[in-house]
């Protein structure tokens, strides 16, 4: 169970990082959300054999992480934890798509390997971007931001509550699984059946808590709309940030920058 505890602890760490004060943290949440969105669209819209043109996009997460004081080791660890998904998704590509594209020494590299590499690279880029967005912007700010950008009120409120109570729920899960572990003496306990019971129990507890929270809210005059005092300022530098990065992403998307650089250098040499 230690790994579960570790996970929850690290999630809390990411949350704490979002309360830092760096140039990246001070940006308007809308600027960061929009820029990340443009980044994601550009990255995922490449064709399936794209590898080289994706590489320049690494500039964005690297720059944001270093300016936003998000430790690289931490990001890589998080990336590894979710990587099995991407690894499994593309695992059959090299087997299914065996047409040889070019030779690396005597090894014929098949198209499948290239598309697999492309999947992994895209996974890395998109996950890093999401992690960095969360690590540099508190979720509250993100919610306020997307609400201002026209997302439905209900959606933003849901997200806010999800985030607030995920910590409470995680604590409950931990306590429950510790209680189970303590009485199962390193064995399987009573197998999978116990887990379904635990899940059902958690659901009931969550339901009861939701009711109490609602009572507490109506007690203080809740009428279906959460009012916040947060004032957001979309300053010129936020616009500059959004437009600047977006322009860079579009250039990366339209031109194969590594090839261009290669040509430029060979042009200089010859």
């Amino acid at each position: 169970m230690a790994s579960l505890e570790q996970e929850i602890y690290e999630f809390g760490q990411l949350d704490q990082m979002s309360y830092q004060d760096t140039p990246v943290h001070r940006l308007d949440p809308r600027a960061k959300v929009l820029t990340t969105l443009v980044f994601l669209v550009c990255v995922v819209s490449f064709d399936k054999y794209a590898v080289l043109p994706l590489l320049p996009f690494l500039v964005f997460p690297v720059a944001m992480a270093s300016l936003g004081n998000i430790p690289g080791g931490f990001l890589l660890r998080k990336l590894l934890i979710v990587s099995p998904f991407a690894i499994v998704v593309g695992i059959f590509n090299p087997l299914l798509d065996q047409q040889t594209v070019f030779y690396l020494g005597s090894w014929g590299v098949s198209a499948g390997w290239i598309s697999y590499l492309s999947i992994l690279l895209r996974f890395t880029l998109t996950t890093l971007a999401a992690l960095i967005l969360i690590g540099t912007t508190s979720l509250t700010a993100i919610c306020a931001g997307i609400e201002r950008m026209g997302a439905p009120d209900v959606f933003a409120t849901q997200l806010l509550f999800l985030y607030r109570y995920i910590f409470v729920l995680a604590d409950e899960v931990l306590r429950m699984s510790r209680a189970r572990a303590l009485r199962s003496f390193g064995r399987k306990g009573m197998g999978i059946g116990v887990y379904s019971n635990m899940l059902g129990h958690l659901l009931l507890r969550t339901y009861a808590r939701a009711q109490r929270i609602y009572l507490a809210m109506t007690c203080r005059g809740f009428d279906g709309h959460v009012r916040t005092m947060r004032t957001l300022h979309f300053a010129p530098r936020d616009a500059l940030f959004t437009l600047g990065w977006s322009a860079v992403f579009v250039v990366f998307r339209l031109f194969n920058v590594p090839i261009l650089i290669g040509q430029f250098i060979t042009g200089l040499v010859s």
């Binding site: 949350d15 508190s138 979720l139 509250t140 806010l160 509550f161 985030y163 607030r164 109570y165 910590f167 409470v168 808590r209 109490r212 929270i213 009572l215 507490a216 809210m217 109506t218 007690c219 203080r220 005059g221 809740f222 009428d223 959460v226 009012r227 916040t228 005092m229 947060r230």
Partner: protein, 251 residues
Amino acid sequence: MSHHSIEARDLAFSYPDGTLALDGITFEITHGESVAIVGANGAGKSTLMMHLNGFLTPGSGSVRVGDVPVTKSTLPDIRRAIGTVFQDPDDQLFMPSVYEDVAFGPMNLGLPPDEVDARVVDALTQVDALHLKDRPPYRLSGGEKRAVAIATVLAMCPNALILDEPSSNLDPRARRRLIGLLSTFTHTKIIATHDLDLALALCERTIVMSSGRIAADERTSDIFANSELLDACGLERPLSMQGCPVCGTSA
């Protein structure tokens, strides 16, 4: 509108499964009184509390706050007049930061922003928690959470406070601080608790409940001196009124 007294008359309530939780409760609490509601587990304390702010509708009988009966149409006014502090602060602190949480009530009252700010600062200062205002609630200690939960209610400027087990899960010092804090409030207070010493320290009057009825409604000192009554209701004397466990002298 005066909200200064709280009155229950012949209050009865049973849960949908048939459990009779309240069975003819009648009392009146006047302005500025501090009343403890004590009783064994399952005596009906929580159910009674849920009636006072209109979360449950009585099966028969009525609750009045000041000259207003508690009904659906008067609920917003009633809930503004009576602040409820829940047993689990995690239920009460649902906003992302302490400041926003305390501001939640005043904002819903439709107050202008500078008035909201003044109330938040004032409420947090009263519970000595102003330094916590930018922290997210899930990063507070138990005592801090409790203090902030009380502030969220104070910010509504209620006439009366209902507190459900205010001293549960607090360490001795946090509990002592809480008692000190509550004793400074001039509001009408209704405190449901198992902490009989807290009741003794804060409330001049105590209502003892037993299986949905009022077993006694007297001065706190009289109630805790009545061993027969306490025994019949599954209670004990407050620790401060029991003999010293080390030297054996009686209090």
